[in-house]
Symmetry: C2
Subunit: 391 residues, 2 copies
C-alpha cells in the first residue's frame, strides 16, 4: 500500500469480500518504501545496529499500516480491529532481524472473528520469550499470512502482489505469456528459486508445509490470479509449465582447481560464512588432475565472491574469473519427471537459434541454462514457443 488512496481501496475490497459472505482476516505489510526508509535511517545513525533495536524500528512500519487500514475499514462500515504481532499471538525465537515463528496463539483473532469483526494483523512480527519485539525478515508479511491462514484453518490465503498472477513466462519479455489458473507448490518453488518475483519463496514453502492453498493475485486490478495448490496425482501434468528468465546473477569461475577432496568444500564454506548467496554450481570432469568450478551469485556480490575465492585458493595455481554479462533461462514443469525429452528439446531449440549454453543445472522439475545476458530475452521467447505455452 503506497498511500492513503491505496489504503481506502483495500478497505473497499475487504468490504466487498465480506458482503459476498467471506470471513476475512487481513495481514498488512509496511506502506510503500517505508521499510527501506527505516533501514536508511538506521544506517545514518548506527554502524552496530543491534538486532533487538533494528526489530523495534522496522516493525513500526507494519504497525502504522495496520492502524490505518483498521481506521479506513471502520470508515466504510466494516467493524475491525488492529492486532500487533504480539496481540495476534505470534511467539518467535530470539533470532532478531530474521526470527522464526515458534507458536501461534490466535485467541484474540478468533474472538474478533466470532464478534463479526475483520482482524487486521501487522505482518512480519512477533514477540519473543524475552518479551521483545521480533521481526520475521523482509517479505515476512507473506509468512505471517500463510501461518495465520493455517492455524485458523482458512479456505485459502490470498497474497496481493504487484503482479496479477503467475505467468508462463515474464509478460514483459514474451507478448503472448499466459496467466496460469493453477500451479503446483513444487513448480512455484522452482520458479521463485530461479528469479520469478513474488511471492517470496519462504511463504510458498510454509504454505506447502501447512497445505494452505495460496492465491497469488493483483493488489491493483483485484482480478482473480493464480491458485498455488498441491499437485493432484490424478491430474495430467503439463510437461513444461513455465519459462523463467533471470538476469540478476553473475558467474564466477575458478580455473585450475586441483582435484583433491576438500578443496571445493572449503571454497563454498568460506562463501557461505561470508553470506554470499551461491546459486548454480557446476564442476566439470577433471582433466589431468585439475578442474574448473563455476558458480553463480547475485551480481552485487560478484566482487566479494571473487575476493573470497581468491583468498581460499591462493596457495594453488588457480585463477578466478568473473562474468557479469550472463543470464539464465529455466524451464519448469511437474510433468518433466516422466518426460526425459525436455532437456533435449530445450538444448535443440537454443542451438537452432544460435544461443550458446555456458552452464547447465537441473532439478527433478527444472532445467536451467546459463547463456549470454543479451540472449536471455530471445531464449525465453523461443522456448515459450517451442513448448507451446502461449495464449
Amino acid at each position: 500500500m503506497a498511500d492513503a488512496d491505496r489504503i481506502r481501496e483495500v478497505a473497499d475490497h475487504v468490504r466487498r469480500c465480506r458482503n459476498r459472505g467471506d470471513q476475512v482476516v487481513l495481514v498488512v505489510s509496511a506502506m510503500g518504501k517505508e521499510t527501506d526508509v527505516l533501514l536508511r535511517l538506521a544506517n545514518e545513525v548506527s554502524k552496530t545496529q543491534p538486532g533487538r533495536e533494528m526489530d523495534l524500528l522496522i516493525t513500526a512500519g507494519e504497525r502504522k499500516a495496520c492502524a490505518l487500514v483498521a481506521m479506513a475499514l471502520t470508515d466504510v462500515g466494516v467493524p475491525s480491529a488492529s492486532f500487533t504481532g504480539s496481540q495476534a499471538g505470534f511467539l518467535t525465537d530470539t533470532n532478531h532481524r530474521n526470527a522464526k515463528i515458534l507458536e501461534i496463539n490466535p485467541t484474540r483473532i478468533r474472538d474478533a472473528i466470532d464478534e463479526g469483526m475483520v482482524p487486521i494483523v501487522a505482518g512480519s512480527q512477533g514477540v519473543s520469550a524475552d518479551k521483545d519485539v521480533t521481526f520475521l525478515g523482509r517479505g515476512g508479511s507473506d509468512t505471517t499470512a500463510v501461518a495465520l491462514a493455517s492455524v485458523l484453518d482458512a479456505d485459502s490465503c490470498e497474497l496481493y502482489t504487484d503482479v496479477s498472477g503467475v505467468f508462463t513466462t515474464d509478460p514483459r519479455v514474451v507478448q503472448n505469456a499466459r496467466k496460469m489458473p493453477t500451479i503446483s507448490f513444487d513448480e512455484m518453488l522452482e520458479m521463485t528459486a530461479v528469479g520469478c518475483p513474488k511471492p517470496v519463496m519462504r511463504s510458498v514453502e510454509v504454505a506447502q508445509r501447512f497445505r494452505v492453498p495460496l492465491h497469488v493475485r493483483s493488489a491493483f486490478t483485484w482480478e482473480p490470479g493464480t491458485l498455488v495448490i498441491e499437485e493432484d496425482p490424478n491430474m495430467e501434468q503439463a510437461i513444461v509449465t513455465a519459462v523463467v528468465p533471470d538476469t540478476s546473477e553473475a558467474k564466477v569461475t575458478v580455473c585450475g582447481v586441483p582435484d583433491r577432496p576438500g578443496i571445493a568444500a572449503g571454497l563454498f564454506r568460506a562463501l557461505a560464512d561470508a553470506e554470499v548467496n551461491v546459486d548454480m554450481i557446476v564442476q566439470n570432469v577433471s582433466d589431468e588432475g585439475v578442474t574448473d568450478i563455476s558458480f553463480t551469485v547475485p551480481t552485487e556480490q560478484t566482487a566479494d565472491a571473487a575476493r573470497i575465492a581468491g583468498e581460499k585458493i591462493e596457495d594453488e595455481d588457480c585463477t578466478v574469473e568473473t562474468d557479469e554479462s550472463i543470464g539464465r533461462v529455466s524451464v519448469v514443469g511437474a510433468g518433466m519427471k516422466s518426460n526425459p525429452g525436455v532437456a533435449a528439446t530445450m538444448f535443440e531449440t537454443l542451438a537452432a537459434n544460435d544461443i550458446n549454453i555456458e552452464m547447465i543445472s537441473t532439478s527433478a522439475i527444472r532445467i536451467s541454462c546459463v547463456v549470454r545476458a543479451d540472449d536471455v530475452d530471445k531464449a525465453t521467447q523461443v522456448l515459450h514457443d517451442a513448448f507451446e505455452l502461449g495464449v
Copy 2:
C-alpha cells in the same frame, strides 16, 4: 530529535553524563514532526479515526526514535536497550488518545540499570488492561519521564526542550530577559497556564505531585537550564518572577445577558461540551438586570465559541461579539501572595505607557491583563523593567 545527526548528538551527551558518574534513563519522543505527519496520514485515510487504532499509529513514532537512540548509544560504546511503554511497565486506563497512567512496574528498567545499561524508554505510551497500546497524548513523553523519575527515585528529571531554560520573559520580546536558575512549581504552572511554551503543564503538575525536581534545559546547547523545585518557605521570595506575553487567544463577549441564575452556567457547559478551551472569564457587575460576560478562547476556536454562545442565548435579547486582536500579559510571582501592591504597580505601569486594559483576571500568584494585541510587546517590556527583572 529532528534527524540522524541529532540522534548521534544525544548519544554523545548521554555518554558524557555517564562518564561523569550519572546513572541515566532516557525517555524519547517522536522525531521532529513525525507525530504531525502521522496525524495528517490518518486524516487522509479516515474520518472516524477510532482511538484504539490512532494510538497504535501514533506510538510508532516514539518506538522508532527509541530504537534509533539505542543503536546510536551502542555505537558510542554505551550499553543500552530500548523499552516500549509496555516493556517499561506503564499500565494505563483504556482512554485512548489521552490515556492516564494507572501504575508503573519498571522491573525491566531496574534490571537494565543494575546491569549497567542505559534504558531508552519510548515516551507517551503504555498498555491497557485490555492489552492494547495506549497513547498518553501530545507532550506525553514529558509525563512519561517525570513519572518514571518518580517511581525510580531519580535525583532529577531533565526535560530537553527547544528553549535553554525558563526566562523572566520571552527573550524574543525583551532583550535583557534573564534565565532563572530556579523557579517554584507553582510559578511554573502559572506561567505555562498563560502561554509560556514548554514543558507542558501536565508534566509540571505530575512532577509537583510526586516531588520530582525538574531541570528544564536546552537540547541544542546542552548548557544548564532552570531547575523547577518546591518552594522553600524559608527563602525570601521574589515578588514578581516573570512577565508572560501571550497572543494566542481571542476574546468573545456576550452583551446584555439577563442577570438570572443558570444563564452563565448553561453557556459554559455548552462550550465545555463542544471542547472549547475557555480560559479567562470576566463578568462585570449587573447594570439594570443585564450584564456582559467576556471570555478568552484559543484564536482558532473563536468562530465555534461565538456560534455556540449565540445558540445558547438565542431566546434572550443578547448579542455576541468577537475580537481576535487582543493579547494578554501576565506577571507571575510566588511573593505576590504577601505583597498587595503588585496589581497597582502593574496597572500604573500600563497606564503610564498608554496601554488600555480590557480585562483583568488574577490568581494568588498571577495577574493577567488583556490588552490590544499590538500593545503586548510594549506591555511586556515596560512591566519587565518596572519589576526590575532584567539582567
